[in-house]
């Protein structure tokens, strides 16, 4: 009897200790049509469901799913398809790698003591990695990848390993056709300054404007007029319509 008790205790202890080392992916909550792929079929995700490495998840319109990946929180936003490439945990390291095909993911990655954490989200054009922070990744076939750090810092890199550190208002944007990411402060500049460039400008003209900060197509008086209209003063505007 005593031997049996010891054996059961040992077995239970072994079970719980080994379970702590198993990587766990659990569905925390869902809304609308959130599904996972089983064979050739998309089946509905349910709260509390456990997923394995290699799981493919997709959401419909106005739908989402929240996953708990070993204490890290990932929100799969609407119209997103993603796959969990890797999720491994050892006593001293945690390694998670997610592939984002299209849509948005919002990830909150926890710092767990001295555990070496690697949490990567890859799209067809870029990869972002974080530790102890929060980020939002978006990928679209035309506009490419955008990465924003919601807390602290995130590292975004292109497929050739050229990386940028993203923090605060900076946004990493990389189009599928571009070899390198855009200026990290483009979004802030667009919000803060009047756009003086012609929307029909070529890519080279837009790049020139970004670098030089002046409208190379018109005279300086055009810029002054447009700027003064933004600060509320009276201004004379000439509109030329060509078709």
């Amino acid at each position: 009897m005593k031997i049996l008790t010891i054996f059961i205790t040992l077995l239970t202890a072994l079970f719980f200790s080994s379970k702590a080392l198993f990587a766990k992916i659990v569905v925390e909550s869902t809304k609308g049509e959130a599904s996972y792929k089983a064979g050739n079929q998309w089946l509905p995700l349910t709260k509390g469901q456990q997923l394995m490495e290699g799981a493919k998840i997709s959401t419909g319109v106005k739908s989402w799913a929240v996953l708990d990946i070993d204490g890290n929180n990932v929100k799969v936003e609407q119209l997103t398809t993603m796959k969990i490439f890797k999720n491994q945990i050892t006593p001293d390291a945690q390694n998670t790698h997610i592939g984002l095909k299209h849509g948005s993911l919002q990830a909150r990655v926890s710092k767990i003591g001295k555990l070496k954490t690697s949490f990567k989200i890859s799209t067809p054009v870029a990869t972002s990695s974080v530790r102890g922070t929060e980020k939002r990744n978006f990928h679209g076939a035309k506009s490419g990848t955008s990465i924003k750090a919601l807390k602290e810092t995130v590292v975004g890199e292109n497929r050739k390993g050229v990386s940028n550190t993203i923090r605060g208002n900076s946004v990493f944007r990389l189009r599928p056709t571009d070899p390198r990411p855009q200026n990290l402060l483009n979004d802030s500049m667009n919000r803060s300054f009047t756009r003086l460039q012609d929307p029909n400008s070529t890519r080279d003209e837009k790049n020139g404007l970004e670098i030089n900060g002046v409208n190379q197509l018109g005279g300086s008086s055009d810029i002054d007029n447009a700027t003064s209209s933004q600060i509320g003063g009276p201004t004379k505007i000439n509109i030329n319509i060509n078709w």
Partner: protein
């Protein structure tokens, strides 16, 4: 006892088959579309109706609904016609009532509807209204439209 076990087994089988047979048409449709090199007008308007949360019917029923809403005025495409960026822009600009673009307000054409959509960051500037949309681009556009309409 045996009877109870049989009833329980049958119930379990029926319940699980019902669960697995549940149709996730939206996710299946979106993932099929995303991999296409070109999308059709029929697929485009079906996706649009999903995003604006309207009932999806046959192609003709979808067209009739959009006609009634005044969104497809002047568009006479068939179900399998390739969907061009300009055509979708016009439907979206009408639905979202985009009015920031002076030239779109004057001409109401596909060309300026596309410019108005690009200005709203629903579409990218580089390209033409004549280009046929790929599945990936359609998914991206619809994601942005859904976000504008308060999705997520």
């Amino acid at each position: 006892m045996r009877k109870q076990i049989i009833i329980l087994t049958i119930s379990c089988i029926l319940l699980s088959s019902q669960l697995y047979g549940q149709k996730i048409s939206q996710v299946t449709f979106i993932n099929e579309i995303a991999d296409k090199e070109q999308v059709t007008y029929g697929e485009g308007i079906q996706f649009f109706l999903m995003v604006i949360e309207k009932k999806i019917g046959s192609f003709q029923e979808n067209v009739n609904f959009l006609n009634k809403e005044g969104l497809t005025k002047g568009i006479t495409l068939t179900k399998d016609s390739p969907l061009r960026r300009g055509t979708l822009s016009l439907i979206l600009a009408r639905h979202l009532k985009l009015s920031d673009s002076l030239l779109y307000n004057i001409f109401k054409s596909e060309r300026y509807a596309y410019r108005a959509c690009a200005a709203k960051e629903i579409m990218e500037y580089d390209g033409s209204e004549w280009e046929i949309l790929s599945g990936g681009e359609l998914v991206e556009i619809m994601t942005k439209v859904s976000e504008m309409l308060g999705g997520n």
